[in-house]
Symmetry: C2
Subunit: 129 residues, 2 copies
DNA sequence: CTGTATCCAGCAAGATACTG
DNA sequence: CAGTATCTTGCTGGATACAG
């Protein structure tokens, strides 16, 4: 009987470290790219998909649903034919975007260090070839 | 021929969004708990392990090695018998701790929203039982 | 005390095909 | 256009045993 919540045994970190939950929520392949793209403005499903190439429709849908569940993204649809669905950041989502911008600024300050770590990472994988 | 770097196809995000790399680096099960624990001061391997129960020796070692590779953690050993190894945050690691504290503060501001999202998450998993 | 080696289950996510 | 359904694979991380 599998448990869908990957946070099952990690509850103790939620009290003092909600950032733990936030980071794990945002750490999948597409969440941050989607948020970054939506920071530029409301976009329709296919616009998003094209902007985030090579994302698949499936992964884009899953990512958007998760971001909606967390309250970061809103979905608006007009039931025309063909259907039109657009996605936008919620106020909370915009706030998150700003918070991430701050963290991004911090990261850029130490860019040299991270570039070195990244290069090590890549070289390590090169050795596998 | 597997590629160990999970960042292989994601290089385009490193230029404008180093935070993408950072978040993915910190999003595993134990990185943030280890950093939080080391924020309280230098600690030896077993101290860390006990503080982070129920982490395994294997996962603690892997996590520490990754944090060292990223430059966040330093390792100091005296080759006595039995061996003594202690871990501490590097200056960069302390700086990261501060940055995370800020993000944590932002997260706490919106705690109600996240608590609701978390509850949905847990209820969704409860329905599996 | 401080790790490494090995094995294994479960989940994230890509490929592909199908749908209203 | 905007998705869902199904199948598959690699990686993360836990359990356990062994080692300097």
């Amino acid at each position: 009987m599998p448990n869908n919540s990957k946070f099952e045994l990690e509850a103790k970190y939620f009290q003092d470290m909600p950032v733990y939950w936030l980071v794990r929520q945002l750490a999948d392949r597409w969440s941050l790219p989607v948020i970054a793209e939506l920071c530029r403005g409301t976009q329709r499903f296919l616009e998003l998909k094209r902007a985030l190439e090579p994302v698949s429709k499936r992964m884009l849908t899953l990512t958007l649903r998760r971001l909606m569940a967390a309250g970061f993204v809103e979905r608006h649809m007009q039931d025309t034919n063909p259907p039109q669905v657009s996605y936008a950041l919620s106020p909370l989502g915009h706030s998150l975007g700003e918070a991430l911008k701050s963290l991004n600024a911090w990261t850029k300050l130490h860019h040299a260090t991270f570039a070195a770590a990244l290069k090590r990472d890549q070289r390590a994988s090169d050795q596998d070839l």
